[in-house]
């Protein structure tokens, strides 16, 4: 044990607070239940207060804003889905048209090939 440690022990000996310290603590404790009750009544309003609070103008404004926002979202989603369905129908119709054109082109090509084949056969026979 070094000397500085011995000196620290003496220098840092616990000292008492002011003589009325305990009384002041007890006075604050006596005031505590009142404070706690007030805090609790502030923290936990009854159902009547909560209902009345809900219908306060500020609350109603927020409720209306929420409802409007929900309606707007539903309308946006509906419109998007409607346009998406229309786009898909148009794409299908276009696909059908393209298919018909391809089939027609193939028929024409086949007819021309038949004509050409006949001519080749006629020339071979001669």
């Amino acid at each position: 044990m070094s000397r500085i440690e011995d000196e620290l022990r003496v220098a840092l000996r616990p000292e008492e607070p002011a003589p009325d310290f305990t009384n002041r603590v007890m006075a604050r404790i006596s005031a505590l239940p009142l404070e706690r009750e007030e805090e609790q009544s502030k923290k936990q309003p009854g159902w009547r207060e909560r209902l009345a609070e809900f219908f306060q103008p500020v609350r109603i404004k927020w409720a209306v804003a929420g409802a409007m926002l929900s309606l707007l979202m539903i309308a946006t989603i509906g419109t998007y889905r409607h346009y998406e369905r229309q786009r898909m129908t148009a794409e299908l119709a276009e696909g059908e048209r393209a298919k018909e054109q391809v089939m027609l082109a193939m028929k024409i090509a086949s007819a021309k090939l038949n004509v050409a084949q006949r001519k080749v056969q006629d020339n071979a026979e001669k």
Binding site: R3, L12, R13, V25, M26, I29
Partner: protein
């Protein structure tokens, strides 16, 4: 706090006082405050070097104790709880409030420690302890005010044992160096 003379063992008396306080006996709680107020107040006072602020903090600690008395299991647990809560509050409050520390360089430099009365020597030591950073200051206070070993300090401050030991080692080196500078060439 003076315990009744009939009490054979002060620990049993505190145990009984604690039990009565837990049952809502205000006088018993006041006794608990009286027994532990010096410890709580001194921890805060060593930390902040401000009597009024230390008393406020100590009051807060006892109010907190009153509200959490049901969780206290024994007199030793009560001491541990008070030390822990006070230490943590000191750190929290010092972060909210700019702590005024005294610079030892501003202190007058006497010729030799042997020319000084003990009171001055101890007051210089307390002032130098107040210049340590917050965690080492708490470690030193718990070690030398409360006479706790590093393991107990580590539990209270929730820090690794090696950190406590290194804070102690470094703080003692700083204290030696500063006290030598402050008080002249002496062996401490």
């Amino acid at each position: 706090m003076q315990w009744p003379k009939s009490a054979a063992n002060p620990v049993d008396v505190i145990d009984d006082t604690l039990a009565r306080a837990k049952n809502g006996d205000q006088a018993a709680f006041a006794d608990l405050v009286r027994v532990h107020q010096a410890m709580v107040f001194s921890l805060a006072h060593r930390f902040f070097r401000d009597r009024a602020f230390a008393e406020d903090l100590a009051q807060e600690v006892f109010l907190h104790l009153y509200q959490n008395l049901a969780a206290i299991e024994s007199p030793s647990h009560l001491k541990f709880w008070l030390r822990k809560v006070t230490s943590h509050r000191c750190i929290d409050y010092s972060r909210r409030r700019k702590v005024q520390t005294v610079s030892v360089d501003e202190a007058p430099e006497p010729m030799s420690i042997f020319d000084l009365p003990d009171a001055m020597m101890h007051s210089t030591l307390r002032r130098i302890v107040a210049t340590l950073p917050e965690k080492p200051r708490l470690v030193v206070t718990l070690r030398y005010q409360e006479d706790l070993d590093p393991t107990e300090i580590a539990k209270i401050l929730e820090m690794p044992l090696n950190t406590v030991k290194s804070h102690l080692r470094r703080s003692l080196a700083i204290l030696r160096e500063k006290i030598t500078r402050c008080l002249g060439e002496i062996e401490v």
